[in-house]
């Protein structure tokens, strides 16, 4: 970068600077396996109306089991079926746990700092409610939407918590066979690790001998220090009515095109 503030880590990698928007978390919640969790509209830009249009961005969802003793496999489903009054987005998510039990999962919603900074009030301040600390701003003349006025936007704030990635891997969809993918090794730590769930919402449908199966990547969680990926089926049905699945897997799609990113991250202590 040519000017402004830049904070690097001990390897010379960028933690944040005033030219690029760091990803900060804005919302936390818990949800029981299989139940829907409404994601507030302000995570999607409801606070950032632009004239007659509405700025919609795509937050990133992270999840981890609440129980320290949990071991299992889980993925995420997203749809627009929320029912919050006054919420024009009404997005909701749920965790699908292969164990089909009553495990509880912690959910974290993160977004780029320019979107985070546009949330009104203090509701997105996940690092505390103090009004002091460190913030980095972009140069002036920036826009967050083609219809917005040019201005200066937050690229980092110590009132938020940045996503710190421990492991990351781009992974293609597999075939109709259960398979595991090694995404790397974690060091032993008590800092809570979270799984980046976005890629697990996509499915791939296979038809074999009159039976269709939807496969998705699931996070295979052994402990806070050991997490991998598992390509495994979420549902099967007699072909061709693969869209007629019922129950837990109500949305069956063949939409896993290209590589999806899977990652393990933490957000520091105090979560």
């Amino acid at each position: 970068m040519a000017y402004g503030i830049s904070i690097l880590d001990s390897n010379g990698k960028t933690i944040f600077n005033s030219n690029a928007y760091c990803e900060l978390i804005a919302y936390k919640a818990t949800v029981v396996d299989g139940l829907w969790l409404d994601i507030p509209g302000w995570c999607y830009g409801q606070d950032q109306d632009v004239g007659s249009t509405f700025y919609t961005h795509t937050p990133t969802i992270y999840a981890r089991p609440l129980s320290a003793s949990y071991a299992g496999e889980f993925c995420m489903q997203v749809d627009a079926g929320g029912s919050v009054s006054g919420d024009r987005y009404n997005r909701r998510i749920r965790i699908l746990d292969k164990a089909s039990g009553t495990n509880t999962f912690e959910i974290v919603v993160a977004m780029p700092a320019k979107d985070w900074g546009g949330i009104s009030g203090a509701k997105a301040h996940q690092s505390g409610t103090s009004s002091y600390g460190c913030e980095a701003y972009s140069a002036g003349g920036q826009k967050f939407h083609a219809a917005s006025s040019a201005g200066q936007y937050i690229t980092y704030s110590s009132l938020g918590r940045p996503s710190k990635v421990l492991l990351a891997k781009g992974v293609l969809p597999g075939s109709n066979a259960i398979a595991t993918t090694n995404i790397g090794s974690l060091t032993t730590s008590t800092t809570k690790r979270y799984c980046r769930m976005t890629g697990t919402q996509y499915g791939h449908v296979e038809y074999v001998s009159g039976v269709s199966s939807e496969f998705r990547q699931h996070y295979s969680w052994a402990s806070n220090n050991s997490v991998g990926l598992k390509w495994t089926n979420i549902a099967t049905a007699t072909s061709p009515a693969h869209f007629a699945y019922s129950g837990r897997s109500s949305i069956i799609l063949d939409n896993y095109d290209g590589k999806q990113l899977f990652a393990i991250a933490d957000f520091g202590l105090g979560m």
Binding site: I7, T14, N17, A20, E23, T58, V165
Partner: protein, 129 residues
């Protein structure tokens, strides 16, 4: 810590400490709109300057092209995403990655109507940018 930057929350928990390796996610572009056509029917590649990219593996593991149009949170059906490959240091190339099929899924000849538009936000993970 002996030097650097440290962020603590209001309960004095360490959130960020620059004296150890830290990989954060930075958005480096948004609203990147690319329309590509099947070969023979228009532009089917798009060259893009991607800061810091050094290899195909680096591209796959440390960058995210998150679709923000229907593909990003699409719950209604499949839409093709462009493939992206490493070209050289700081440069990648998008390519049309569609398929031309009949309604019943059988191969058919492509046409100009098989063009695929994608809109992306671009993120870097743990890079010097």
């Amino acid at each position: 810590m002996a030097y650097g930057f440290q962020q603590r929350d209001s309960n004095d928990n360490v959130v960020v400490d620059s004296s150890a390796p830290v990989q954060t996610i930075s958005q480096i572009d948004s609203g990147l709109y690319i329309t590509l056509y099947p070969s023979g029917f228009g532009t089917n590649t798009y060259t893009y300057n991607l800061p810091g990219v050094t290899s195909q593996t680096d591209l796959e593991d440390n960058y995210v092209f998150n679709r923000t149009d229907a593909g990003g949170w699409n719950v209604f059906g499949s839409e093709r995403t462009h493939s992206v490959t490493y070209v050289s240091a700081g440069v990648v190339r998008f390519q049309w990655n569609g398929s031309c099929l009949t309604f019943l899924g059988s191969p058919r000849a492509c046409t100009v109507f098989d063009a695929v538009p994608n809109t992306f936000d671009v993120y870097a993970i743990g890079k010097t940018i």
